[in-house]
């Protein structure tokens, strides 16, 4: 188990190092950008955004498990799911904050200002606030069962506007990200960028997400054990 954990960490570290090297050294400046070297930012910015979306989906999955088992299943079952939901929302906040910061640097180079209230920029800001609101709600509740029930209900409700803001809104209104969406999702990406993004950055960030989830849930499990002992 220990060997598996260290193999996972080492593989993630190597993939992320390759992704950073790929973004900063390997890929050539992209044509069609106001500042062609600024396209390198995409390789780290896009996976951060994808991981924030993944965190939403993972949190929603745990939220369903909590609502199905709290008050019915064993205490252990819903406590574990509650820890998972909390971990995913916390990671969502971290990665959405990184997406916002790296995105605003890209915006400065490509569109001339750090913030332009573009629908995509606004949506990631709202998503970050939705993650933060979950953590505020959790910290306001002390009784574990009530906290699990209310916070998971919030996580499940918040996933609806979250997914709308991520996938629907930027596609029905005019956005500065139109060209970028076309390039990344529509297959118009340069082969070098595609290689670094899909072979190194995306698996590396997925590995990082799994590692951080595991670490966060281990802490929560130990905290539960300490509370139960006292």
């Amino acid at each position: 188990m220990r060997l598996l954990r260290w193999t996972h960490r080492a593989t993630t570290g190597i993939l992320l190092a390759l992704a950073t090297w790929g973004a900063m050294v390997y890929v050539r400046p992209a044509e069609g950008f106001l500042y062609p070297d600024g396209a390198r930012i995409i390789i780290l910015h896009v996976p951060c955004a994808w991981i924030a979306c993944l965190a939403y989906l993972v949190a929603a999955w745990y939220a369903v498990r909590i609502l199905r088992s709290v008050g019915r299943g064993s205490r252990q079952q819903w406590r574990r799911a509650d820890d998972g939901c909390n971990a995913a929302m916390e990671l969502g906040l971290v990665f959405s904050a990184l997406t916002t910061i790296t995105g605003s640097i890209f915006s400065r180079l490509q569109w001339g200002a750090f913030w332009s209230w573009d629908p995509r920029q606004t949506s990631i800001l709202v998503i970050m606030l939705l993650f933060a609101a979950y953590l505020v709600l959790r910290s306001a509740l002390t009784e574990p069962q009530t906290r699990a029930r209310l916070s998971s209900a919030y996580a499940l409700v918040a996933v609806v506007p979250g997914l709308f803001l991520i996938w629907v809104l930027p596609r029905i209104v005019n956005t500065l990200h139109g060209g970028a969406n076309q390039a990344v999702i529509g297959g118009g990406l340069d082969p070098q960028y595609r290689l670094v993004l899909y072979a190194f950055a995306l698996p590396g960030f997925l590995g990082l997400f799994a590692w951080l989830m595991q670490l966060r849930m281990r802490i929560a499990a130990l905290e539960d054990r300490t509370i139960n002992q006292r």
Binding site: Y35, T102, F106, E223
Partner: protein
């Protein structure tokens, strides 16, 4: 700041953010494990 400096700043921000978060979690984990060890003694 030049464009190249902004580009270079991106991996620094991303990895500094991630490492800080990991460090925070590792410290928390270590503190809990020490607490559990003391309780068991």
């Amino acid at each position: 700041m030049t464009g190249a400096m902004w580009v270079l700043l991106v991996p620094i921000i991303v990895w500094a953010g991630v490492f800080t978060y990991i460090l925070m979690l590792e410290r928390k984990l270590a503190a809990i494990e020490v607490g559990i060890g003391e309780d068991e003694e």
